[in-house]
Amino acid sequence: MAFKRVPQKFNASINKVVVGTGDKTITLGGENVLPFYTFDAPIENKPKVGIMISDTGLDKTLPGIAAFYGDAESLVDVAKKAVTAEGADFLAIQLASANPDEQDASPEDCAAACKAVADAVDMPIAVIGCGNRDKDAKVFDKVAEALSGKNVMILSAREENYKNVVASAGLAYGQKIGAESAVDINLAKQLNTVITQMGFSGENVVMNVGTAAAGYGYEYVASTLDRITAAALGQNDTQLQMPIVTPVATETWNVKECIATEEEAPDWGSREQRVIDMEVITATADLAAGSNAVIVKHPASVAVLSKLVNELI
């Protein structure tokens, strides 16, 4: 009997979320098939690749970073370079300076820095906090206000601070909100539920369901992403149909393979190559399991990932 191919097209789809304004918007999501399954149905919006910069500066000990960014030092100059990276779809600004244990930059200063960047570049923007939940809520309030009308992604609201973040950045200033959970499917759904119960439309929510660097418990990440995709498409679970945005760099740059210098680990070869490999490998796995966008730091990683997506879709 001849093989009859039945397209696995679902009667459910991932929400479409538009980020940015004017001609340079990006649209995340919209697909009704499994990741990269273009043979089942067209995927209208390819996964996107974001390039991340930090307001605490660049690691210019890496020759590729030093060469790419040249003499750019200020956040605005760095941003202007970053948006020229081949394959970059959006710019992610990490406000590491806000960390109360380190520089403890004020929300107002963070907002001013983001505003300056947003005025200098026309690429869609994501804003990543410092990781301290209380401080992030205060920072996002000011940043969302300063970037009012820019339609940026605020990454992110968590269980501990979602009420403040959604009320301010989402409801008051109309930005897109990232709902972050740490590799916990039930919490991912719960967070989307309580966010939408606040009266904020699920159509304006993206999810960061967490990632781990490849080799650091990644199996659990993969099964989480799989399960979420299965629920969103297979069970038409509207509380899990938000596009997934995965900040990869914030995880991968902190593992020993990326920290160890060439003197400390002479057998491991070029540190820069390790950094790129770790970003690319982790981000590829995230994309294959259902991420609609990944965020990496190294321009070489951006180029590889963008090429990968464009070759496959």
Partner: protein, 261 residues
């Protein structure tokens, strides 16, 4: 499998207020009852207009347009002994949120309802009954096969026949309850869908007992593979039980607020 499908039963001519509203074409009480059921989590709404011998087609079209217009094309079960009224209702029915359900066929006098459903690409509730209540599960299975064959011959997909085992009243037929539950398993083992008027089991019981009995029955029936039921969605205990069973059966992902969804 999929999440349990609840069909709200509260738009029925057996309720005097609804009957009056249908006759008078008074939208307000109908919309109010519909909204209560949808807010409580009903997926489909049953529209029972009774025999409606004189004005059935016109009445059914009026109700279908009223409900779907007000509630974003809510899917409906069209419930009347007037076949022309069902056909008329389907003619104006919007399928965005699900096919219409024809309620209902049986293996005897109402077998033509399967033809009606097949001709209109509708789901058909198929009561596993002939004349009178089936004596045992062999007889029920015989009726099921007759209706399944009829549907398939007419080009229906098997999943569009929702077999009704006929829930029996416990007060009077207590010894038949396990038969009904076992028959649900028989339906499920064939990969077929099932539904039924669940609250029939608790008919005649004190009011405060019925939600408890209905909840126990639905939990046991869902364990046997029941895929849908015609229920009072405003029965909170029952709806909470159904949602909890869907979680245990892994039909929907748990979240702390699952009862609010």
């Amino acid at each position: 499998m999929a999440k349990f499908v609840t069909i709200g039963e509260r738009l029925s001519t057996t309720a005097p207020a609804v009957n009056k509203a249908f006759s008078a074409r008074d939208p307000e009480p109908i919309l109010k009852r519909a909204k209560e059921q949808l807010d409580a989590g009903a997926v489909y709404l049953d529209v029972n207009i009774g025999p409606a011998e004189t004005d059935g087609p016109e009445l059914m079209q009026w109700v279908v347009k009223l409900l779907q217009g007000e509630f974003n094309n809510v899917p409906l079960a069209l419930d009347t002994s007037n076949m022309k009224a069902i056909e008329a209702g389907i003619a104006v029915y919007n399928r965005d949120k699900g096919k219409p359900i024809v309620n209902s066929a049986d293996a005897s006098g109402r077998i033509e309802y399967i033809n009606l459903a097949a001709a209109n690409d509708a789901i058909c509730i198929a009561l596993c009954n002939g004349e009178g209540i089936a004596a045992d599960n062999d007889e029920r299975m015989g009726y099921l096969q007759v209706m399944l064959e009829r549907g398939l011959e007419l080009g229906m997909e098997p999943e569009d026949l929702w077999f009704d085992p006929l829930f029996l009243v416990i007060k009077g037929m207590q010894d038949k309850q396990l038969d009904v539950l076992n028959f649900i398993k028989d339906i499920s083992d064939q990969g077929l869908n099932s539904t039924g008027g669940l609250s029939n089991n608790s008919n005649g019981m004190p009011k405060h007992v019925r939600p408890i009995m209905d909840s126990a029955m639905v939990a046991m029936a869902m364990m046997q593979g029941l895929t849908s039921a015609i229920v009072n969605p405003c029965d909170l205990r029952l709806m909470e039980t159904i949602k909890s069973c869907d979680i245990i059966k892994n039909e929907t992902l748990f979240a702390d607020s699952y009862l609010e969804m």
